[in-house]
Structure formats: C-alpha cells, structure tokens
C-alpha cells in the first residue's frame, strides 16, 4: 500500500500529519508569548476542556454510552483538588493523581449499574446525576469541606525554578504538558485492541460479545476512564480558575461538554480540540448579543449538525481532505 499511497506536494499523508502535529505544537508553545495574559488564560481553559471532551468522547463517541452528566465528574475532580489544597495544604500538582484516582473509582462504580441502561435511559440517569451535583455540594453537613454556597478559593500557583515567565504562562505550559500526556494515552488506547473493542460494542453489542469481547468489563471500565479524563480536566480547571462553587457545576456544564463533542466530532481525537475551541470562544462572541444567545446558538448547532454533519468539524475536515486532495485522513 505504501508505494501507492497518494502524495500531496511530494509527501505522503502520514508525513503531512507529522508535519501538522509538529506545527501545532510549535504554535502552542509560542502562542502565550504573543498574546495577553487574559488570552493565555482562555487558551489554558481551552486545553482543559479538550481533556474533558476527550474523556466524554471515549464514552459517548467511541463506546456509544450517552452521558448527559459529565459535569458531575468535572465537579468531582475540581472539588477533590480544591479540598486537598484548602484543607491540607497539599501542592496542586500532587492533587491531580488523587483527583484522577477518585474519579476513576467513582466513575467505574457508577458504570456498573449503568451497564443495565442504554440509549435514552442512560441519558436520563446521567442527566439526573448532573442535576443532583450542585445540591450535594451545597449540602449542610458537607459544608466544612465544600464551603457550601460560598465555594473554595485557591491561590494562584507560583512559577517554579525561577523560570522567566509569569504565572498565567506557567499554568498554560503546565496544562499543555498534561494535555499532551492525556492525548497520547488516549490515542494509544483508541488505536489498538481496546479501541476496536469499544467501537464494536457501540456498533453491535451482541456481535461484540459473540466475538469474545467482555462487554460488561469494557463498558464499566471505559466509564471509569472517561470519568478520570473529565475529572483531571475539572481538577486543572479548579487550579486555573482558582475558585470552585456549586453553581459553576450545574447541568449547563454537562450540556456544554455534549455540545463540544458534537461540534468537534464524535469518535474523533482531534475533534476534542476543535470542540474545546468552540465552547471556549464562541459563547464570548455570542454573549455580546444577549445573555441567552450562546445557548440559543448551542441549541441550533446541536440540531443543525445532526441534520447535515453528524461527524462534526473533524468529520468535515476529513471529508474535505478526502474529497479535494484524494487522501484518506486518519485520526
């Protein structure tokens, strides 16, 4: 096949993808030195969302388990980190593995009863989960830890090792490094045997089971892993925003994440980045029109994309490269 692989400007698709990835990485490293601190903060949040979207995409896009409640894992990760920093003075970077582990375990445990639910029912149960979270966080007996309605304030991390960058830039590079690790891990998970098993379960459960895939184990594990990704994103968001409060983790967070994977592209790794850019930057543009406008736009995008482009931005790019360059872009 390699000999016949189509070439564009003398390079094969494979090489072009390497060039593209390196280009994006270089741009990602240079960008914070070119823009204001506020923009750097926005880019950091975009990376945080990208991790969360990758997590949701593992579950919903690749495995076909619909979750309308991923805001719950985002909140769980954020509060784990915030409480550890606030109560016990643990450095923020050590709280990340703990947040990841907590979300993995709780996600796995929620994934076990979720095995019995599919389609609409799972959507419903997870939607209820998302609605309960703010109430739980405000719950009186938990207030010594969660700070109740007031939430928890965290200090902005200092730049270590005397690096010649400011705090916002340091946070950006810190989050960028973790994003890269999470994406490489996610890519490894998806491209191999596990990824094929997940997709097989999504496409036909009975057939997958017949082929020897342990459906129950895979489905509950991917629930846990998905919660882990979103939880790590939540933990990072707590550090970046320096504040957690119950009302920032309402049902809208879960819907925003859903919008992100639909717009970016279901079952696509690069889609997580496009989706993250969309949910980070589009609402700000729309908010200048009206407070309700971002949500109206989200709604319209959700429905329109299902009608005309169910594979989202990533699918569109793939289609364009296939149609006009004659190459088969991969993920």
């Amino acid at each position: 096949m390699t000999a016949a692989a189509p070439r564009v400007a003398g390079l094969t698709t494979r090489h072009w993808r390497v060039v593209l990835v390196v280009g994006v990485l270089v741009l990602a490293c240079v960008l914070p030195f070119l823009v204001s601190n506020y923009r750097t903060f926005q880019l950091t949040m975009m990376l945080v969302y990208a991790i969360a979207l990758l997590g949701l995409n593992l579950l919903t896009g690749y495995n076909g388990q619909i979750s309308l409640g991923h805001g719950a894992w985002f909140a769980l990760g954020a509060y784990t980190t915030a409480i550890m920093i606030d109560q016990w003075g643990i450095p923020y970077y050590w709280t990340l593995p703990v947040a990841a582990a907590v979300c993995l375990v709780v996600g796995f445990l929620f994934g076990v009863p979720a095995l019995r639910l599919r389609g609409h029912y799972l959507a419903l149960a997870t939607l209820a989960l998302a609605l309960v979270i703010p109430q739980l966080l405000k719950y009186q007996p938990l207030q010594p830890f969660t700070g109740g309605v007031q939430g928890i304030l965290i200090l902005k991390p200092e730049v270590p090792w005397g690096l010649p960058i400011n705090q916002d830039q340091w946070l950006y590079f810190f989050v960028l490094a973790i994003t890269l690790v999470m994406f490489v891990l996610g890519w490894n998970l998806i491209r191999g045997r596990v990824g094929r098993a997940l997709v097989a379960i999504r496409d036909h459960e009975v057939a997958a089971e017949t082929m020897g895939v342990n459906n129950a184990l895979y489905k509950s594990t991917v629930f846990g892993v998905s919660a882990l990704y979103t939880g790590v994103a939540g933990a990072l968001s707590a550090v970046v925003v320096q504040f957690v409060a119950p009302d920032s983790y309402n049902i809208l967070v879960s819907i925003t994440l859903l919008v992100g994977i639909v717009v970016g592209g279901l079952a696509s790794i690069s889609g997580a980045i496009f989706g993250a850019a969309f949910i980070q930057f589009i609402p700000q543009v729309a908010e200048s029109v009206s407070k309700a406008a971002p949500w109206a736009i989200y709604g319209v995008f959700l429905i329109l994309l299902m009608f005309v482009m169910p594979t989202g931005i990533a699918g569109f790019i793939k289609w364009v490269s296939y149609r006009f360059l004659g190459t088969r872009g991969g993920d």
């Binding site: 619909i66 009863p113 209820a128 609605l131 109430q135 859903l258 709604g299 299902m306 009608f307 169910p310």
Partner: protein, 293 residues
Amino acid sequence: MDVFLQQVVSGLAAGGIYASLALALVMIYQSTEHINLAQGEMAMFSTYIAWTLIDAGIPYWIAFVATLVISFIGGVLIERLIIRPVENAPVLSLVIVFIGLLVIFNSLAGWIFTYTIKPFPSPFPESPISVGNVVLSPHSLGAIGVTLLILLLLFGFFRYTSLGLAMRAAAQNPVSARLVGIRVAWMLALGWGLAAAVGAVAGMMVAPVIFLDPNMMGGVLIYAFAAALFGGITSPGGAVFGGFTIGVVEALAGTYVPFIGSELKLLVALVIIVGTLLIKPTGVFGKAVVSRV
C-alpha cells in the same frame, strides 16, 4: 397526624403535576420509543405563552384553552419539522436533538421574557379550606382535579374515538396500521401535539406554586421521569400512579427524613430512577419488551 395528612395532600397536588408531565412523556414513548428530554422546557414555554395572554387581559380559562391549542400546534410542528428527519437516526443523534430543543426553548424564554421570576395566577380561590385541623390549599385540590380530568379525557379519547384507535394502532404496529390506511406519520405528529398540550397543563398548574422562570421545569422534569419510570414507561395509567406516588414520597421524605430536608430532594428522584431501572426496569405496571436481534 395533621402534619402527615397535610403533607400527603400537598404531595398529591405536586404528584398531579408530575403525573401530567409523566403522561406526556409516556404518550411520546409509546408511539416512538423516544424519551423527550425537552418535554419540561416545552411545558415551560407554553406557560409563558399563557402568562403573555393573561397579562394582555384575557380571562384565565380562555387563555388556558388558547394555550392548549397553541401548544398542540407547536408540538405537531416540532414533530414534523425537527424530529421527523432524524426519526430513524441512532439514539445518540436523537438525544442530541432533544437536548438541542431543550436548550433552544430555555434560551428563547430567557431572551424573550427575561430571567426575572414572575408570579403566575391560579384559577382557584385563595382562601385555604379547613377540614378539621387540616388546612388545604384550593390550588392543590384544583390541580389534583385538573389532572384527573385530563386523564379521563385522554382515556375516553383513546378508548372510544376512532382517531384514538388509529393512534393506538399506529403506535403498536406501524406497518400493519399503514396497510389498513392509517397515516402513521400524522398519528405521531398528533401524539406530539397532545403531549405538548398535556405538558402545558402541567406547566400552568405548577407555575403558581414555584413561580415562572425559564429554569422552573428542571426539577419537575426529573420527577416526571422518575414517575414515568416507576409507574412503567409503557403504561399511561402507571405514569399517573407513579406521579401521585412520587409526589407523596417527596413530600413525606422532605418532612420526616431529617437528612434529606428540602436540600436533597432531587437526590430522591435520582435514587428512584436508578432504583427502578436496577430492580424492575419495566416499572410497576409496565410490560417487558422482548426485542429481536
């Protein structure tokens, strides 16, 4: 004992509202096996239409009927224009479209009517009725009555009219129904219209209690889902039974279980949903569905 009775009655009143919305969910589920996640927001939007009409000086009951008609037409249009093109798409696409509808209705309401909380009139007298030591609110009793009336009307419609029979046929066996000349697609649209109208009743009955704002239906919708699942999502009677039961359980749990209070009421709904799905997924009155692979 008095507190107990009072909580039971207020639970029944809330339950009537959950029952109406659960009934709307069941109607759409029966004909299409879709759970309409936007049902609550559609009801909320209908309530805003009623508020606009009443605010313009139209008498309550005329506005009530007009709202039902408008909601019915709106429901039919949504089915024809938005749901029909994705009717046979994977569940994920449908859920996304429903969430899209939910978000659009919510933001439209916020955009047009602002996010300020508005009072909504009740058609029933205000002065409480005392029976012995128990004080009952006329609105609670009225809401229970309206729910039961709607249930009776729907039952009569589906049981004794030929249109109702055609709708049942279209839901049970679309192919055979089409072969005997029933326009199945229009029956589905009619179902959506009816569901929207029933939802509108729920909205207008709950709004005097919890006030009108674009997010008012979030909690109510989850309770309605819990009610529909608990009673059996395939059974209209079960949905009404589930609605009343869950209303009473909610009221009693909030009063007597100290750690729940009013703070964790939604948790009760989550527990009921997950519990029902785990223990008896078909609900109390539902029938098990066997599917062919």
